[in-house]
């Protein structure tokens, strides 16, 4: 284990976080929020101190292998979410350290589950930081670090970092060097973000609200800055803009890169995006018809339904209506949509549409093999064969996914909540959505849970964002053994 190299990477990670916190400090200064100012100042001090200390380390002769990559990503995420929660704790807005950590994990993992009963009571700068963690966590802090800090110098070892942090069963480099790939990803991300802010401001939303809501949309996070979430902005235009952009941020970013490279046709043929859009439109229609009696007008039902489906599928978790009060079919369909979530390589969470696609295709191939045992039919996706190790990787992921669900479910059951609350809270946290059903529905929040459950849910959020294995490997003894 190359502890020095890991420490250096984590040092840079903390420096990046500290640098971004300066913006929150600025907001606190503008709105003259004394308590928040002090809280941010102290946290920045700690981050920069530890960061500079760690990055001063000498690199040493060792190399970085896959396991160092996994450990860096897992430890890095635990640490940045811890330090990201400190301002809430120091300023006294969230007096309990575990709660502050939960809120911060929920931010960085782009979950959007909150323990706050009254969001509007937070200071402006705290709201800013809370929403900004979504933006940073969405595309990935390590990806940002790779884009900014020239770490690789021709060696491919930082590829292990990208692979451990990026969502999806495989990682595509968009450019020959990692730094360029990371820069392209962030460039697309930033441009989309700016467009959304402009569109929201044009629709009459105040600039500060537009910025924060865009952060939460871009990262597919879902922290609202109003107690009523997006329902606080009744304009159908604003709701539609947010709904469309949630859907856009849930698309694999390589598709945008293809479009920019002038290969729009290839982008349209992407099987995962087709499945994603298909499921989204079909579910929208089903729910719209299901809730039609409740709202009377089809256009209203359709908008509400599209917003909610987009919000849940991309694992954002915004709400324009309390879907907890919708008919049973709509409620449960939304929970089902949570499981597979958005596309791989997007900012969204869940098990990813591409895994669903591979699962369906390999099941189909299996069934054909039962009928014609000697027929050769490889699983194809986007014109290429899906290799056997990728398929078994998807099976292994789904198995681990199921097991974590079972263990978490049993741990959460100590709280004596209803099955609906427990299961939907688990699904909403593990898949990084935010609101669930019943007590944790859009109108409720996570303060009802005991400290144990909050801790379990926080770990679930991290497991979900890092796609299980990096964090799970942290607890595997062979990772820490001196000799591999």
């Amino acid at each position: 284990m190359n502890i020095r190299a890991i420490s250096i990477y984590i040092g840079y990670l903390l420096l990046v976080e500290g640098a971004f916190m300066f913006a929150a400090l600025g907001v606190a200064a503008i709105y003259q929020e004394r308590a928040s100012l002090v809280a941010f100042l102290m946290t920045i001090g700690v981050l920069l101190f530890i960061g500079l200390l760690l990055t001063r380390l000498r690199r040493g002769p060792g190399r970085v292998y896959a396991r160092e990559g996994f450990v860096t990503v897992a430890l890095g995420w635990v640490l940045i979410s811890f330090f990201g929660g400190l301002p809430f704790y120091i300023s006294g807005y969230i007096p309990n350290l575990l709660d502050a950590w939960f809120e911060s994990v929920s931010g960085f993992t782009t979950t959007g589950a909150s323990i706050l009963k009254d969001v509007e009571a937070l200071s402006q700068s705290m709201l800013y930081w809370r929403s900004f963690t979504h933006w940073l966590g969405g595309m990935g802090v390590l990806v940002f670090m790779l884009a900014v800090v020239p770490l690789s110098k021709g060696s491919g070892e930082t590829f292990h970092l990208l692979r451990a942090e990026s969502p999806g069963p495989s990682v595509d480099k968009l450019a020959p060097t990692l730094r360029n790939s990371a820069q392209i990803l962030y460039a697309i991300y930033i441009v989309l973000t700016i467009i959304q802010v402009l569109l929201l401001v044009l629709g009459g939303m105040p600039f500060f609200d537009s910025l924060l809501n865009t952060f939460a949309t871009a990262g597919t996070g879902g922290f609202a800055i109003k107690n009523a979430s997006i329902a606080a902005y009744p304009s159908p235009y604003l709701q539609l803009v947010i709904a469309v952009f949630m859907a856009l941020f849930g698309v694999n970013f390589t598709v945008y890169h293809l479009i920019l490279a002038g290969q729009g046709r290839a982008a349209l043929k992407n099987g995962e995006v087709r499945l994603y859009i298909g499921i989204m439109l079909f579910s929208t229609l089903l729910i719209a018809l299901n809730i039609l009696p409740q709202y009377g007008s089809f256009s209203k039902a359709a908008l509400l339904s599209f917003f909610q489906v987009s919000s849940i599928m991309t694992t954002t978790g915004f709400a324009t209506a309390d879907f907890n009060l919708w008919p049973q079919f709509s409620r449960y369909l939304l929970v089902v949509l949570m499981i597979f979530g958005a596309c791989a390589g997007s900012t969204g969470g869940g098990a990813k549409q591409v895994r669903l696609l591979i699962l369906l295709k390999s099941l189909k191939a299996r069934m054909q093999m039962m009928l014609r045992p000697r027929a050769v039919n490889p699983v194809r996706m986007d014109g290429k064969q899906v290799k056997e190790d990728m398929i078994s990787g998807v099976y292994a992921f789904m198995a681990a996914y199921a097991m974590i669900c079972i263990v978490s479910f049993l741990l959460l059951s100590f709280d004596n909540k209803s099955m609906e609350t427990t299961l939907s809270a688990l699904a909403a946290c593990f898949n990084n959505i935010g609101p669930g059903l019943d007590l944790v529905g859009p109108a409720g929040n996570y303060s009802v849970f005991s400290p144990l459950s909050k801790f379990v849910l926080s770990i679930d959020m991290l497991l979900g964002r890092l796609e299980i294995f990096p964090l799970l490997l942290l607890f595997s003894p062979s990772v820490w053994r001196r000799r591999a």
């Binding site: 896959a66 690789s152 110098k153 021709g154 491919g156 070892e157 480099k173 020959p176 060097t177 730094r179």
Partner: protein, 464 residues
């Protein structure tokens, strides 16, 4: 620069490593996903799986917008096809590896039609290197610069060498011979020595010298050398064929031992004056019966590194004056350097030197372009040749007044056919060809890279 490399084999990987570490955007194409995975994990490059001679694969690797495509697959035909295709797609330069002697000869006819910027033949390059070493057997490595007029030669200080125990400033007479000790390698570490440096037995030194003075240099150093008159070659591959042809032309007796009968017959047809033996070159009895004890040099060129090593060690053991070993896996060099295997030739390193110097010359936009490059001291240092074709601030200033970066040395200057091994009072002039020695890793692309800061004059930084 954007570079696409087709073929992720020995040469391909060496090139990928070197070029990506020099900061180029490299995409590697190969049909074997396993070697691609290794490349991607070890190096910061993109990979594309597939046949590099397919348009679809080349488009996926963005060949149409690349500056250079290097085809280094095992098939000559595939390489030529890759380059032809890349030119049609709009790639600016192409380099193909072409190894087959017959193709190599007819390439002159085809080079233009194929749009090749450069064709490389690792086997011929290796044969040439071996031939040059056999001309002066005491040297472990010879690299020529300035169109062959200056050389960097590597020498191991064995007992009785008059240099042992001397400090460099005591070697004034070496300067009269127009020679300069550039690099000393001791226990695997390299030093660019200063005047106070003391030479010890076992040191490996690299000397910059006038090519015409090599024989005198050896005499001066008290190293006995005799002309190589007979050479035994084990393994009759392409290198052996090229090498034997060169040796025969220089009236050296050649014996080649080849295991495969068909190949042996082909060799015997191609090389009329050589003695071709069909048999196992690792068989001691066969070697002894073919007179290996009396030969001047043994060259091991089979396709298997281990066999080459064993046979060369056996040659050393029975007292062959010079053994040369072909090694593909150079990573292990330091392990067997201690076992008497000191002269080693690696086709892949020769090839990558040639290509890297070409790429640096391409990347160099301002004056003073790279005209040759070779790695020395086991790849720990490199010698780079520049041609100065512009007015630059560092010209006409005595070397001792220039602020060169640490560990960088001006090893030789060629001015109108005359080799100058520079001393402190010499200076560089426009029109000179200059050889620079520097540790690897600095990636020197331009003459300006050798100075500490913009202003090349010593002490200039403090004045400002």
């Amino acid at each position: 620069m954007k570079i696409v490399i087709v073929g992720d084999g020995k040469v391909g990987f060496t090139l990928t490593k070197q070029l990506s570490q020099e900061g180029h955007d490299v995409v590697v194409i190969d049909s074997n996903p396993n070697v691609l995975r290794t490349s991607q994990e070890l190096l910061d490059v993109a990979v594309v799986e597939g046949n590099g001679a397919y348009v679809s694969v080349q488009l996926e690797a963005n060949v149409q917008t690349s500056d250079l495509l290097i085809a280094a697959t095992s098939g000559d035909e595939v390489n030529m096809l890759c380059c032809l295709l890349a030119r049609k797609l709009g790639c600016k330069h192409t380099i193909a590896r072409v190894r087959e002697p017959a193709y190599d000869q007819q390439l002159r006819l085809l080079k233009e039609e194929l749009g090749l910027s450069l064709s490389i033949n690792p086997e011929r390059a290796a044969a040439r290197e071996i031939f040059r070493l056999l001309q002066f057997p005491p040297f472990l490595k010879r690299d020529s610069f300035a169109r062959g007029r200056a050389e960097l030669v590597e020498l191991k200080l064995k007992e009785n060498n008059p240099l042992i125990g001397k400090r460099l400033f005591e070697l004034g007479d070496l300067k009269e011979l127009n020679a300069l000790i550039c690099i000393v390698e001791r226990y695997g570490e390299i030093t660019i020595p200063s005047g106070n440096f003391k030479l010890l037995e076992g040191d490996k030194i690299t000397i910059a010298a006038d090519a015409a003075e090599l024989a005198r240099l050896l005499r001066h150093l008290n190293i006995s050398t005799h002309k190589t008159q007979s050479v035994h070659i084990v393994g009759g591959g392409r290198i052996a064929e090229y090498l034997a042809a060169m040796l025969l032309k220089a009236h050296v007796r050649v014996t080649i031992i080849e295991r495969d009968l068909v190949r042996a017959e082909a060799l015997s047809l191609a090389l009329e004056d050589a003695l071709i033996i069909n048999g196992d070159g690792t068989d001691q009895e066969l070697l002894l019966s073919e007179g290996i004890k009396q030969t001047d040099a043994l060259v091991t060129l089979t396709g298997i590194d281990e066999e080459n090593l064993i046979v060369s060690m056996f040659g050393n053991y029975i007292g062959v004056p010079k053994t040369i070993t072909k090694i593909n896996r150079t990573e292990y060099y330091s392990v067997f350097a201690n076992m008497g295997i000191d002269t080693v030739v690696s086709p892949k390193l020769l090839t990558s030197d040639e290509i890297v110097s070409y790429v640096r010359a391409m990347a160099n936009t301002s004056g003073g372009s790279v005209t040759a490059l070779c790695t020395i001291a086991e790849g720990k240092a490199e010698a780079i040749e520049f041609f100065i074709n512009e007015d630059a601030p560092y010209l006409d200033i005595p070397l001792k007044a220039l602020a060169l970066k640490e560990e960088i040395l001006v090893a030789a200057i060629l001015r109108s056919r005359k080799v100058i091994i520079p001393k402190g009072n010499d200076s560089m002039q426009k029109g000179d060809t200059v050889v620079i020695v520097a540790p690897t890793g600095d990636a020197i692309f331009d003459m300006r890279d050798i100075f500490i800061n913009e202003n090349p004059k010593l002490g200039a930084a403090e004045k400002e």
